[in-house]
């Protein structure tokens, strides 16, 4: 984004502040992570829990959590709140405490906030997450921001609610590593504060189900929708720049984004909550061999435990939603990601394999990666460089105002990276000089 354009188009002290922040960012003599180097770091590269808690206080408005957040219809909001976990200040406070508590991990080094870090867009900004003992998982940590509005949780949608989802990493051997829920309860049950807090929140002793519920309740407060783009969508014509507006037109037209990233005032997330194979998993060298193995294994109808084991501990996790539904149409599919705040949650895709939003558009522009399970809606887009820039600018306008600083930092950093390298850029494919499947049908192997 050009700051001069922004200055011409937009007014107000707030924007001036933005400009100053931008100027600081521009002038800073920095390499990649210098901007965050003064943040005290924990064991896995996340900001320390104390620092995160301070930052969170600055971000979160002081509100009555039992009331519908502004901008929501109470009936709609209620639909997102489970019957057995109505929002109360006690539950949210308990969840907040648990969210940042590393005692919920076997080696006392990992909390929810390790991979869903307040200072890093409530994700960890790494390709895949690091759990106890420095073990790496297989998937990119999705942001918790606005996750309350999702229909299913996890990138393969295997969890139906935040309350359920919040418990899973605790017993995942790579993430927090407890053998079972009871061990996690054991780890905090002597804490008098917790004993009191669980009684106040749920009227019961500490138990695993309520750990999930409380964390879920806290996460439901993380509604971050106040972006320039959503103000534009609700009628403020000057909320975004000309370039960003051009991106929005492309989003709904030539770039075909809207077919999966449904985006409207009534559905502000930018996801259809469905699962698509866009060819990212297919970049793994063994993807198709895995797919055949997976189809064969699942045809033999394994038990739920075997399935969980396979999904967790083998490369079959690359088969995504297929491991949940066993449907061929779900091979290599992952849920359409939320677009709000996308600027501050790099790297992208289920495996974090795309570093910048330019890479993301390059990926789609080339029609994804041809594979036998590719979604039929994925096709070459013939976007020009100017159009790619417009789309990226547009995506950076979807970040909540409270993260403007991080958004600007990301934009600058990603732009610098994209200027150096655009590994997914393939103009022959984008402009259909060569067609998807053409080389494959001829038996030509793609050069890696």
């Amino acid at each position: 984004m050009n700051f001069l354009t922004l200055f011409k188009n937009q007014k107000g002290l707030f924007i001036l502040c933005l400009l100053l922040v931008g100027a600081v960012v521009l002038l800073a003599p920095k390499a990649n992570n210098d901007q965050t180097s003064d943040i005290p770091k924990g064991a896995h590269g996340e900001a320390t829990m104390e620092y995160q808690l301070q930052e969170l206080d600055k971000l979160m408005p002081k509100v009555d959590v039992s009331e519908t957040p502004p901008g929501f219809d109470p009936v709609i909001w209620d639909a997102f709140i489970p019957e057995d976990n109505k929002m109360t200040p006690e539950r949210v406070a308990l969840g907040r405490k648990l969210y940042f508590d590393t005692r919920l991990s076997k080696d006392n080094s990992v909390s929810c906030a390790t991979c869903h870090d307040v200072t890093r867009g409530f994700t960890d900004q790494r390709d895949v997450s690091e759990g106890i003992g420095g073990q790496l998982g297989r998937r990119n940590a999705p942001t918790v921001l606005n996750a309350v509005l999702l229909q299913t949780l996890f990138l393969d949608g295997r969890s139906p609610s935040l309350d359920h989802q919040a418990k899973m990493p605790i017993t995942n051997p790579i993430e927090m590593g407890f053998p079972d829920g009871e061990s996690a309860v054991e780890a905090i049950k002597d804490d008098v504060e917790y004993q009191k807090a669980f009684q106040e929140a749920y009227g019961r002793d500490i138990n695993y189900e309520d750990i999930g519920r409380a964390i879920g309740a806290f996460e439901r407060t993380l509604v971050f929708l106040d972006s320039p783009f959503l103000r534009f969508l609700s009628g403020d014509k000057d909320a975004i720049s000309t370039e960003e507006k051009a991106g929005w037109v492309l989003f709904n037209g030539k770039a075909r984004c809207v077919s999966c990233h449904h985006l409207s005032p009534s559905n502000p997330l930018g996801t259809d909550n469905r699962f698509h194979n866009i060819g990212v998993a297919a970049r793994q060298p063994d993807f198709e061999k895995l797919a055949r193995e997976g189809l064969k294994t699942l045809a033999e109808d394994p038990t739920e435990e075997q399935l969980e084991e396979l999904a967790l501990n083998t490369d079959l996790s690359e088969l995504g939603r297929f491991m949940v539904t066993k449907m061929r149409s779900d091979v290599g599919t992952f849920r359409t990601s939320i677009l709000l705040n996308i600027g501050i949650t790099p790297p992208y895709m289920h495996d974090g394999s795309l570093t910048t939003l330019w890479d993301v558009i390059d990926h789609y522009n080339a029609g994804g990666e041809a594979n036998p399970f590719l979604d039929g809606g994925i096709e070459p887009l013939a976007l020009t460089e100017a159009e790619i820039n417009q789309l990226v600018a547009f995506m950076f306008s979807m970040t909540d105002d409270r993260f403007t600083e991080e958004n600007n930092r990301q934009k600058k950093e990603q732009k610098a990276l994209a200027e150096k390298s655009r590994p997914e850029r393939d103009e022959d494919m984008a402009f259909r000089r060569k067609l998807a499947f053409e080389d494959r049908a001829k038996g030509i192997k793609k050069q890696q």
Binding site: S259, C260, P372, E379, A436, R440, A441, K442, G443
Partner: protein, 376 residues
């Protein structure tokens, strides 16, 4: 089966056949299979209506291994309706994807059958593009003509590229025949139509101008002659672009001289007819003849409004957000009894297999699971 306002000939036959079964209910299955011709004569004499096209012979004789027939498989691709690449490359990509699908089959199929309508409007560029893409198939290609390939230049370019549209050969104990079932009566000369007008008319649906598809007397003679060398228990697989029966006239899901062709095939113990043109899951059986449709790589047709043959497992409505849904290719696995398992490899769904035992038991055994969404 769906309630339909009008009933096609085939639907009526199905109903007659079902009535027959109802009336024979008191005979258990095992003894029914052993019912002698005399007993059947008695049943007929006792006033049961015997459906015209229903052939009891194959039901009544338990299937035994036909001499020399082997189990093998071949792949199929059909109805790609290619336009020039710069006009529409989605269909081109779909055919490329099919070639890739088939090439990745392990082990490779014995051959690949292409079911017709390679081109959309019979253009030289369309046919050449298709031929070029199909060249990349690793397995040998057998190809049939469809009306979209034919009616611009009356098959000139197609024959230049692919040779004879009508042919037969033997493979592993099976006799294979490819027919040209899309022959129409000359409706164009009298009207002074240009080739492209003729092509566009044939390519259209619901128009009264074109005539119905036929195999024609000349080809029927050829078929009779070709088959004369083969005994009644030779497993026979016939390919025709249109279904060799009468399903829905206005879309030419129809062959006008179907009964005459069926009569030629009648003497064989079992016959499999595989047809393109209908772009959907479609299964039928008339007496000894088992019919299977092919998927299109380009688009799925909705089901015809007059009801479908009873054996058809109708696929549910394709997802409008996924242009691949309802499309695909597939494979055929032959059995030593001369029947086939027909696999519909739908790109966006679990594959559906119509097994030989499903058609041979008139749908009583091995019924594939019904789709979880309604038909359309």
């Amino acid at each position: 089966m769906r309630k339909a306002k009008h009933k096609s000939v085939e639907t009526r036959h199905m109903e007659e056949r079902r009535e027959l079964y109802e009336s024979l209910k008191n005979i258990d299955r095992r003894s029914f299979l052993k019912v002698s011709a005399v007993a059947l004569g008695t049943a007929m004499a006792s006033g049961l209506a015997w459906p015209h096209s229903f052939q009891p012979a194959s039901v009544l004789s338990p299937s035994t291994s036909s001499q020399g027939a082997e189990s093998f498989r071949f792949a199929y691709i059909s109805d790609s309706h290619l336009y020039k690449k710069d006009l529409n490359d989605r269909f081109v990509r779909a055919l490329l994807r099919s070639v890739d699908d088939v090439n990745s089959m392990d082990p490779q199929p014995d051959f690949v059958f292409y079911g017709g309508d390679l081109a959309q409007l019979g253009q030289v560029e369309e046919l050449e593009l298709g031929a070029q893409i199909l060249k990349d198939l690793k397995a040998p290609l057998k190809i049939m003509v469809g009306e979209h390939d034919w009616y611009l230049d009356m098959g000139e370019k197609w024959q230049e590229l692919f040779g004879e549209p009508i042919q037969s050969w033997d493979h592993k104990g099976f006799h294979f025949v490819i027919l040209n079932s899309v022959i129409e009566k000359d409706f164009w000369t009298e009207r002074g139509m240009k080739p492209m007008e003729r092509m566009m008319t044939v390519a259209g649906l619901d128009n009264g101008m074109q005539s119905s598809f036929t195999v024609g007397s000349e080809q029927r003679e050829w078929l009779k002659n070709d088959l004369s060398k083969y005994s009644n228990d030779t497993p026979l697989i016939v390919f025709s672009h249109s279904p060799l029966y009468k399903l829905y006239k206005f879309w030419n899901f129809w062959t006008d001289d179907a009964e005459e062709v069926q009569a030629i095939l009648k003497r064989f113990k079992s016959v499999v007819v595989i047809h393109g043109h209908t772009h959907q899951l479609l299964t039928n059986r008339i007496g000894n003849i088992h019919f299977h449709g092919l998927l299109s790589t380009a688009w799925p047709w909705p089901y015809a409004p007059e009801g479908m043959p009873e054996l058809t497992i109708e696929m549910s409505r394709p997802d409008p957000f996924n242009p691949n849904d309802g499309c695909g290719n597939g494979e055929v696995i032959t059995h030593t009894d001369g029947l086939i398992d027909k696999v519909y490899s739908l790109w966006n769904r679990n594959p559906i297999t119509i097994s030989s035992t499903y058609t041979s038991s008139w749908g009583k055994r091995d019924r594939p699971p019904m789709p979880n969404r309604p038909s359309y």
